[in-house]
Symmetry: C2
């Protein structure tokens, strides 16, 4: 079972938006055992849509299109599909009623543009879009399926899940695709590959290994195509277990694990509480934790102390220390963490102070220098890191590094003090 | 001048990563007047790469490939290119020296995998990758250019900017493409289209209008292809000025403006200071401001008060009020903003308290309910909003809504008090 994904929109070709829809559609298809052979993006242009669609239908059993629908621009895609499948545009009463009701509830007048949204090709099955005004459309010809979905990610996502996937599963006899990912951190790609070369060479031939490097981690993905899913999933887990014994200290987690999700789980399981005191990371650490459902069970509070006064008034950092050592220094970051932990009555407090740039760097303390500390039941640790050269990168990396320090401190609880 | 972008990697086809590279490459090409006709993604597979590349070279003057390089997987792409262009892989001494030096500085051993990275097709021009170990490659045949770049976004970006664009500009006589975007907020797409229909109909024929809707705004883009840039840019500005007179209250800004960048500019220009007191947004508002260079000029401090104690201890909210009205209430959000403004000695303080979910909703106060307040020199305003149904969406929307309230309050300074 092969699929092609076609995303439509000039905004994609000029780089004005990043296409997230195709990744999300690909995940849905893969999870159901449908291999995505190709993804393509074309502009709001009849000929380009027709050419892409013809080629897709030649090679793929299923083609999913998104975009090119909506009150101001749905003509091209809808008319092109009607023409390609040889039928007229007709008014769909259910869609018309739904559009009218949706707009009314939001206080929006129903006008000719919205009226046009209830026109659909007569030869398609309408996929009801409960969350928007542009309906999805399902076409079939010669055993091949073509689905057109609106480009608004939220609406597309609901239609894929509620309408498209159930129909595809009912329509085709699907085999499974299994992907599992293990996340490593702390080893460069080439060193990792060297370390695990023996393990890699001994993998069963139907398991395909891929390295996915990014600045602070390398993900290892094992994939198997068109297999009996459960058995293969067990085999992959067994292989990852072997890997755990080879590089135990470099494994961060599985699938979409992040350093904050690992710490979230640790804090939750152990009934520990957390507070944050951030200067250069500016709330990014607090935001990473509080973005996760369930954070309120352990997250007590955070302070973003951009000014000297805030460091003193809210965190109790001594003005003498700030004068003597500077705001980006070990004594200050330690005092921030300890002051926050005390004020919040939390088990752990994590603190950062650094130079996020682009201005403010000095020869002794260049842009990217970040002091980070964790105060906990066993005392306080502090480290200084060089976290990059670009403001966004520095905030992001320093946040990750500070949370990793927190993880290490929580896990250190497990080892005897006199190690 | 037409271009095709091909991104290579199984991780793209299974939806494990969102492809941001192609959007960034498209922006570079567009800015130089090169029209991107198509974008395509294929897997790490020789035949798929060859087929996509052959088709791209048929239709486009320039083809940019990314991905499929790196110590553990560069074989396929590099060998495929060498084969397609009919030459051998040879060792490049400069690349070899660079890879060795880069690894040494990071304390990484130089091994066979890295040694392989210094092999390049003999018929290409090597594009030096100062930020990584996989070099870029530039091929030419029959007047058509094919460029292969590593897939790490940071490395790709530097190579596009420093190596590829200067060479393309030197190699081809390019005309300009002009895109300008105006961002509206507060009008649904169909209502906006109706309001500005007269303006749209009167646009000069060489200006192409596109609507780009997203949950909280609609962007309007005017584009002109292969034109004399400066003149068209002025014409577009004049058109946007006309639009300003038609829908003045719905215009947020231009290009990549965000609600926080608008407020950032207001605060900076007026020498005003800001503090934040966040409950349900969990630091996201502080993080949005502090992510922008120059934020330290106005951002004083922020508190993330997830617990009742933090609301009381750090912000001075009365425990009686919390008991009587609940944490998600108008009296509490007002007290948070006012307490924060006082503690921080800031001109403005913005506060949020709400139910981000998925748990914690009640019939009176369902998930998505967010109270937000702004305390300023003219007093305090508070509003309650329904900000969505998904935790991430609620945090994101409520942050934007609270910052919009702050903007309105700052701008209200300009109007007489007795309006």
């Amino acid at each position: 079972m092969k699929a092609t994904i076609i995303t439509i929109g000039d905004e994609i070709l000029i780089g004005q938006i990043v296409d997230t829809n195709s990744a999300s559609i690909a995940r849905h298809l893969n999870a159901a055992g449908i291999v995505v052979a190709e993804k393509e993006s074309v502009g709001d242009d009849r000929d380009a849509i027709v050419a892409a669609l013809r080629r897709a239908m030649d090679g793929s059993d299923v083609t999913i299109l998104t975009g090119g629908l909506g009150p101001t621009k749905d003509d091209i895609t809808k008319r092109t599909l009607a023409e390609l499948f040889g039928c007229e545009l007709v008014r769909d009463e259910r869609v018309a009623r739904h559009v009218r009701r949706m707009l009314e509830s939001r206080g929006i007048a129903y006008n000719d543009l919205n009226r046009g949204q209830s026109l659909v090709p007569a030869c398609c099955t309408v996929l009801f879009n409960a969350h928007g005004t542009a309906p999805g459309m399902w076409f079939e010809r010669d055993g091949r399926v073509v689905v057109s979905l609106p480009g608004v990610p939220f609406e597309m996502e609901h239609l894929m899940q509620d309408e498209v996937m159930p129909r595809l599963k009912a329509r085709f006899a699907l085999r499974q695709i299994v992907h599992r990912t293990l996340i490593t951190s702390g080893l460069a790609e080439s060193m990792l590959a060297e370390r695990i070369a023996g393990w890699e060479a001994a993998l069963p031939p139907y398991l395909h290994l891929a390295y996915l490097p990014s600045p602070d981690k390398v993900r290892l993905r094992l994939s198997a195509y068109e297999v009996e899913g459960e058995e293969v999933a067990h085999e992959i887990e067994a292989q990852f277990e072997k890997l755990r014994t080879i590089i135990p200290e470099y494994i961060l987690g599985y699938e979409t694990a992040t350093i904050q999700s690992v710490v979230h789980d640790l804090l939750t399981q152990r009934h520990l509480t957390l507070a944050t005191a951030e200067s250069c990371t500016g709330g990014a650490i607090a935001a990473r934790f509080t973005a996760m459902p369930g954070a309120s069970a352990y997250f007590r509070c955070g302070v973003v102390s951009y000014t000297v006064e805030a460091k003193h008034d809210l965190l109790g950092v001594s003005l003498d220390d700030i004068d003597r050592y500077g705001v980006v220094s070990e004594p200050v970051v330690r005092a921030m963490a300890e002051g926050m932990r005390r004020t919040a009555h939390a088990d752990y407090a994590v603190a950062t102070t650094g130079v996020a740039g682009p201005a403010g760097g000095t020869p002794e303390c260049p842009v990217g220098t970040v002091w980070m500390a964790v105060a906990g039941p066993q005392g306080t640790v502090a480290v200084c890191r060089q976290s990059g050269s670009d403001r966004g990168q520095i905030i992001d990396r320093a946040s990750g590094q500070a949370i990793a320090l927190l993880r290490d401190e929580i896990l250190r609880q497990d080892t005897p003090r006199n190690e």
